[in-house]
Amino acid sequence: MDNYKKINLEFLQSFTQNDNAQMAKYINMFLTLAPVSINTMKTQHECGDWNNLRTTAHSLKPQLAYMGIESLKETILRIEEYAGEAKNPEAIGGLIQTVEAGCNEAFVELRAVIEKIA
Protein backbone atom coordinates (compact mmCIF):
# COMPACT_ATOMS: atom_id res chain seq x y z
CA MET A 1 0.00 0.00 0.00
CA ASP A 2 1.27 3.50 -0.85
CA ASN A 3 2.37 5.94 1.78
CA TYR A 4 -0.43 8.30 2.66
CA LYS A 5 -0.29 11.44 4.79
CA LYS A 6 -3.51 11.06 6.76
CA ILE A 7 -4.44 7.41 6.73
CA ASN A 8 -2.67 4.24 7.75
CA LEU A 9 -4.39 1.08 6.60
CA GLU A 10 -2.13 -1.39 8.39
CA PHE A 11 -4.86 -2.39 10.83
CA LEU A 12 -7.48 -2.74 8.10
CA GLN A 13 -5.15 -4.85 5.96
CA SER A 14 -4.40 -7.09 8.90
CA PHE A 15 -8.06 -7.29 9.95
CA THR A 16 -9.22 -8.22 6.43
CA GLN A 17 -6.13 -10.33 5.72
CA ASN A 18 -5.59 -8.19 2.64
CA ASP A 19 -9.01 -8.97 1.23
CA ASN A 20 -9.62 -6.01 -1.09
CA ALA A 21 -13.39 -6.46 -1.23
CA GLN A 22 -13.62 -6.43 2.55
CA MET A 23 -11.34 -3.42 2.77
CA ALA A 24 -13.42 -1.54 0.21
CA LYS A 25 -16.57 -2.40 2.16
CA TYR A 26 -15.25 -0.84 5.39
CA ILE A 27 -13.71 2.15 3.65
CA ASN A 28 -17.01 2.85 1.87
CA MET A 29 -18.85 2.60 5.17
CA PHE A 30 -16.46 5.15 6.66
CA LEU A 31 -16.85 7.44 3.63
CA THR A 32 -20.63 7.31 4.12
CA LEU A 33 -20.80 7.53 7.91
CA ALA A 34 -18.02 9.97 8.85
CA PRO A 35 -19.38 13.02 6.92
CA VAL A 36 -22.77 12.47 8.61
CA SER A 37 -21.10 12.39 12.04
CA ILE A 38 -19.11 15.56 11.27
CA ASN A 39 -22.25 17.43 10.15
CA THR A 40 -24.10 16.19 13.22
CA MET A 41 -21.28 17.47 15.46
CA LYS A 42 -21.43 20.87 13.74
CA THR A 43 -25.19 21.11 14.28
CA GLN A 44 -24.91 19.96 17.89
CA HIS A 45 -22.17 22.54 18.50
CA GLU A 46 -24.32 25.32 17.02
CA CYS A 47 -27.22 24.28 19.25
CA GLY A 48 -25.05 23.87 22.34
CA ASP A 49 -26.20 20.27 22.56
CA TRP A 50 -23.09 19.23 24.51
CA ASN A 51 -24.19 15.84 25.75
CA ASN A 52 -25.12 14.58 22.30
CA LEU A 53 -22.02 16.20 20.80
CA ARG A 54 -19.93 14.17 23.24
CA THR A 55 -21.76 10.98 22.15
CA THR A 56 -21.26 11.74 18.43
CA ALA A 57 -17.54 12.42 18.92
CA HIS A 58 -17.32 9.26 20.99
CA SER A 59 -18.87 7.24 18.12
CA LEU A 60 -16.54 8.71 15.51
CA LYS A 61 -13.42 7.93 17.56
CA PRO A 62 -13.14 4.17 16.78
CA GLN A 63 -13.96 4.76 13.10
CA LEU A 64 -10.99 7.12 12.82
CA ALA A 65 -8.83 4.52 14.53
CA TYR A 66 -9.88 1.80 12.04
CA MET A 67 -8.79 4.04 9.16
CA GLY A 68 -5.53 4.80 10.95
CA ILE A 69 -6.17 8.55 11.12
CA GLU A 70 -3.86 8.95 14.10
CA SER A 71 -3.43 12.72 13.70
CA LEU A 72 -7.06 13.30 14.77
CA LYS A 73 -7.00 11.00 17.78
CA GLU A 74 -6.20 13.72 20.32
CA THR A 75 -8.55 16.24 18.67
CA ILE A 76 -11.57 13.95 18.84
CA LEU A 77 -10.71 13.08 22.44
CA ARG A 78 -10.61 16.82 23.32
CA ILE A 79 -14.03 17.35 21.70
CA GLU A 80 -15.43 14.47 23.71
CA GLU A 81 -13.85 15.78 26.90
CA TYR A 82 -14.85 19.45 26.46
CA ALA A 83 -18.39 18.57 25.35
CA GLY A 84 -18.73 16.21 28.31
CA GLU A 85 -17.88 19.09 30.62
CA ALA A 86 -19.84 21.64 28.52
CA LYS A 87 -16.82 23.93 28.46
CA ASN A 88 -14.77 25.83 25.86
CA PRO A 89 -17.49 26.18 23.17
CA GLU A 90 -15.15 28.29 20.99
CA ALA A 91 -12.37 25.73 21.29
CA ILE A 92 -14.80 22.93 20.43
CA GLY A 93 -15.78 24.77 17.24
CA GLY A 94 -12.12 24.98 16.22
CA LEU A 95 -11.55 21.33 17.05
CA ILE A 96 -14.53 20.26 14.92
CA GLN A 97 -13.08 22.29 12.04
CA THR A 98 -9.77 20.46 12.51
CA VAL A 99 -11.55 17.10 12.41
CA GLU A 100 -13.48 18.13 9.30
CA ALA A 101 -10.37 19.34 7.48
CA GLY A 102 -8.38 16.26 8.49
CA CYS A 103 -11.20 13.93 7.46
CA ASN A 104 -11.58 15.69 4.11
CA GLU A 105 -7.93 14.96 3.38
CA ALA A 106 -8.43 11.37 4.55
CA PHE A 107 -11.51 11.00 2.32
CA VAL A 108 -9.42 11.94 -0.74
CA GLU A 109 -6.78 9.37 0.17
CA LEU A 110 -9.38 6.69 0.91
CA ARG A 111 -11.12 7.28 -2.42
CA ALA A 112 -7.75 6.83 -4.08
CA VAL A 113 -7.33 3.53 -2.22
CA ILE A 114 -10.78 2.39 -3.37
CA GLU A 115 -9.92 3.22 -6.99
CA LYS A 116 -6.70 1.30 -6.69
CA ILE A 117 -8.10 -1.86 -5.14
CA ALA A 118 -11.43 -1.96 -6.97
Binding site: M29, H58, P62, Q63
Partner: protein, 166 residues
Protein backbone atom coordinates in the same frame (compact mmCIF):
# COMPACT_ATOMS: atom_id res chain seq x y z
CA UNK B 1 -20.17 -24.54 21.89
CA UNK B 2 -21.50 -25.28 18.41
CA UNK B 3 -24.96 -24.01 19.16
CA UNK B 4 -24.10 -20.51 20.34
CA UNK B 5 -26.48 -17.79 19.24
CA UNK B 6 -24.74 -14.43 19.41
CA UNK B 7 -26.41 -11.01 19.37
CA UNK B 8 -24.27 -7.99 18.47
CA UNK B 9 -26.09 -4.93 19.77
CA UNK B 10 -24.39 -1.75 18.59
CA UNK B 11 -25.62 1.45 16.92
CA UNK B 12 -22.31 2.12 15.18
CA UNK B 13 -22.82 0.30 11.84
CA UNK B 14 -19.15 0.06 10.95
CA UNK B 15 -18.02 -1.40 14.26
CA UNK B 16 -21.01 -3.77 14.33
CA UNK B 17 -20.28 -4.98 10.79
CA UNK B 18 -16.60 -5.53 11.56
CA UNK B 19 -17.47 -7.41 14.75
CA UNK B 20 -19.97 -9.60 12.88
CA UNK B 21 -17.43 -10.39 10.14
CA UNK B 22 -14.71 -11.13 12.68
CA UNK B 23 -16.81 -13.43 14.85
CA UNK B 24 -18.30 -15.16 11.78
CA UNK B 25 -14.80 -15.95 10.49
CA UNK B 26 -13.58 -17.20 13.88
CA UNK B 27 -16.71 -19.13 14.81
CA UNK B 28 -18.39 -20.30 11.58
CA UNK B 29 -20.86 -22.50 13.50
CA UNK B 30 -22.32 -19.65 15.50
CA UNK B 31 -25.56 -17.96 14.55
CA UNK B 32 -24.93 -14.23 14.67
CA UNK B 33 -27.57 -11.50 14.63
CA UNK B 34 -26.97 -7.75 14.60
CA UNK B 35 -29.23 -5.14 16.22
CA UNK B 36 -28.81 -1.41 16.66
CA UNK B 37 -30.88 -0.90 19.81
CA UNK B 38 -31.54 -2.63 23.11
CA UNK B 39 -35.25 -2.59 22.27
CA UNK B 40 -34.61 -4.50 19.02
CA UNK B 41 -32.47 -6.98 20.95
CA UNK B 42 -35.28 -7.46 23.44
CA UNK B 43 -37.84 -7.98 20.65
CA UNK B 44 -35.77 -10.89 19.29
CA UNK B 45 -35.28 -12.90 22.45
CA UNK B 46 -37.27 -15.73 20.83
CA UNK B 47 -34.04 -16.51 18.93
CA UNK B 48 -32.65 -17.58 22.33
CA UNK B 49 -29.28 -15.83 22.37
CA UNK B 50 -26.58 -17.38 24.54
CA UNK B 51 -24.10 -14.50 24.27
CA UNK B 52 -24.82 -10.79 23.79
CA UNK B 53 -22.03 -8.44 22.71
CA UNK B 54 -23.49 -5.16 23.91
CA UNK B 55 -22.42 -1.57 23.32
CA UNK B 56 -22.36 0.55 26.49
CA UNK B 57 -24.05 3.58 24.92
CA UNK B 58 -26.56 2.64 22.19
CA UNK B 59 -28.13 6.10 22.14
CA UNK B 60 -25.72 7.81 19.72
CA UNK B 61 -28.17 7.61 16.80
CA UNK B 62 -31.54 7.28 18.50
CA UNK B 63 -31.38 9.59 21.52
CA UNK B 64 -34.46 8.09 23.11
CA UNK B 65 -33.15 4.54 22.84
CA UNK B 66 -32.40 2.52 25.96
CA UNK B 67 -28.67 2.74 26.83
CA UNK B 68 -26.44 -0.31 26.78
CA UNK B 69 -26.19 -0.29 30.56
CA UNK B 70 -29.99 -0.19 30.90
CA UNK B 71 -30.19 -3.05 28.39
CA UNK B 72 -27.62 -5.03 30.40
CA UNK B 73 -29.58 -4.55 33.63
CA UNK B 74 -32.81 -5.60 31.86
CA UNK B 75 -31.18 -8.66 30.28
CA UNK B 76 -29.61 -9.91 33.50
CA UNK B 77 -32.87 -9.38 35.39
CA UNK B 78 -35.00 -11.31 32.89
CA UNK B 79 -32.51 -13.72 31.29
CA UNK B 80 -29.74 -14.33 33.81
CA UNK B 81 -28.40 -17.34 31.86
CA UNK B 82 -27.32 -15.13 28.93
CA UNK B 83 -23.68 -14.07 29.02
CA UNK B 84 -23.08 -10.43 28.18
CA UNK B 85 -19.82 -8.93 26.96
CA UNK B 86 -19.88 -5.14 27.12
CA UNK B 87 -18.15 -3.00 24.50
CA UNK B 88 -17.41 0.68 24.92
CA UNK B 89 -15.20 3.43 23.59
CA UNK B 90 -14.52 4.41 27.20
CA UNK B 91 -11.43 2.92 28.77
CA UNK B 92 -12.46 4.13 32.22
CA UNK B 93 -12.12 1.60 34.99
CA UNK B 94 -15.28 2.78 36.80
CA UNK B 95 -17.38 2.08 33.68
CA UNK B 96 -15.90 -1.42 33.42
CA UNK B 97 -16.50 -2.06 37.13
CA UNK B 98 -20.09 -0.82 36.82
CA UNK B 99 -20.76 -3.21 33.92
CA UNK B 100 -19.25 -6.22 35.69
CA UNK B 101 -21.16 -5.34 38.87
CA UNK B 102 -24.38 -5.36 36.82
CA UNK B 103 -23.58 -8.85 35.56
CA UNK B 104 -21.45 -8.43 32.43
CA UNK B 105 -19.00 -11.28 31.97
CA UNK B 106 -16.29 -9.05 30.50
CA UNK B 107 -15.65 -5.52 29.25
CA UNK B 108 -13.89 -4.64 25.99
CA UNK B 109 -12.72 -1.20 24.87
CA UNK B 110 -13.71 -0.22 21.32
CA UNK B 111 -10.88 0.25 18.85
CA UNK B 112 -8.59 -1.88 16.67
CA UNK B 113 -7.86 -4.32 19.52
CA UNK B 114 -11.57 -4.84 20.33
CA UNK B 115 -12.04 -7.73 17.90
CA UNK B 116 -9.22 -9.87 19.25
CA UNK B 117 -10.17 -8.89 22.82
CA UNK B 118 -13.77 -9.99 22.21
CA UNK B 119 -12.51 -13.29 20.85
CA UNK B 120 -10.39 -13.69 24.01
CA UNK B 121 -13.45 -12.87 26.13
CA UNK B 122 -15.37 -15.62 24.28
CA UNK B 123 -12.59 -18.15 24.97
CA UNK B 124 -12.50 -17.09 28.63
CA UNK B 125 -16.28 -17.52 28.77
CA UNK B 126 -16.14 -21.03 27.29
CA UNK B 127 -13.49 -22.04 29.83
CA UNK B 128 -15.57 -20.51 32.62
CA UNK B 129 -18.63 -22.49 31.49
CA UNK B 130 -16.52 -25.66 31.36
CA UNK B 131 -15.35 -25.09 34.96
CA UNK B 132 -18.95 -24.48 36.09
CA UNK B 133 -20.02 -27.67 34.31
CA UNK B 134 -17.20 -29.73 35.88
CA UNK B 135 -17.96 -28.26 39.29
CA UNK B 136 -21.62 -29.25 38.99
CA UNK B 137 -20.53 -32.77 37.97
CA UNK B 138 -18.22 -33.12 40.99
CA UNK B 139 -20.88 -31.73 43.32
CA UNK B 140 -23.29 -34.40 42.05
CA UNK B 141 -20.64 -37.12 42.44
CA UNK B 142 -19.81 -35.86 45.94
CA UNK B 143 -23.50 -35.99 46.90
CA UNK B 144 -23.85 -39.54 45.55
CA UNK B 145 -20.76 -40.70 47.43
CA UNK B 146 -21.93 -39.06 50.67
CA UNK B 147 -25.34 -40.77 50.43
CA UNK B 148 -23.66 -44.12 49.62
CA UNK B 149 -21.37 -43.89 52.67
CA UNK B 150 -24.29 -42.90 54.92
CA UNK B 151 -26.27 -45.83 53.51
CA UNK B 152 -23.44 -48.31 54.14
CA UNK B 153 -22.96 -47.00 57.71
CA UNK B 154 -26.73 -47.22 58.34
CA UNK B 155 -26.87 -50.78 57.00
CA UNK B 156 -23.85 -51.77 59.07
CA UNK B 157 -25.52 -50.28 62.15
CA UNK B 158 -28.74 -52.21 61.46
CA UNK B 159 -26.83 -55.47 60.92
CA UNK B 160 -24.85 -54.88 64.09
CA UNK B 161 -27.99 -54.03 66.12
CA UNK B 162 -29.83 -57.12 64.88
CA UNK B 163 -26.83 -59.33 65.57
CA UNK B 164 -26.21 -60.25 61.95
CA UNK B 165 -22.69 -58.96 62.31
CA UNK B 166 -20.48 -58.37 65.34
Amino acid sequence: MNKEVVFIVDDEPMHAQMMEDHLASKYPNFKIYKYSTGEECNDNMDKHPTIVVLDYHLDAVNKSARTGLETLIHLKKKYDHIDVIMISGQDKIDVAVECVREGAFDYVVKGPSAFVRTEQAFEKLFKHRQVIHELAKYKKLNRTLTFSIIGIIALAAIFWATGIIG
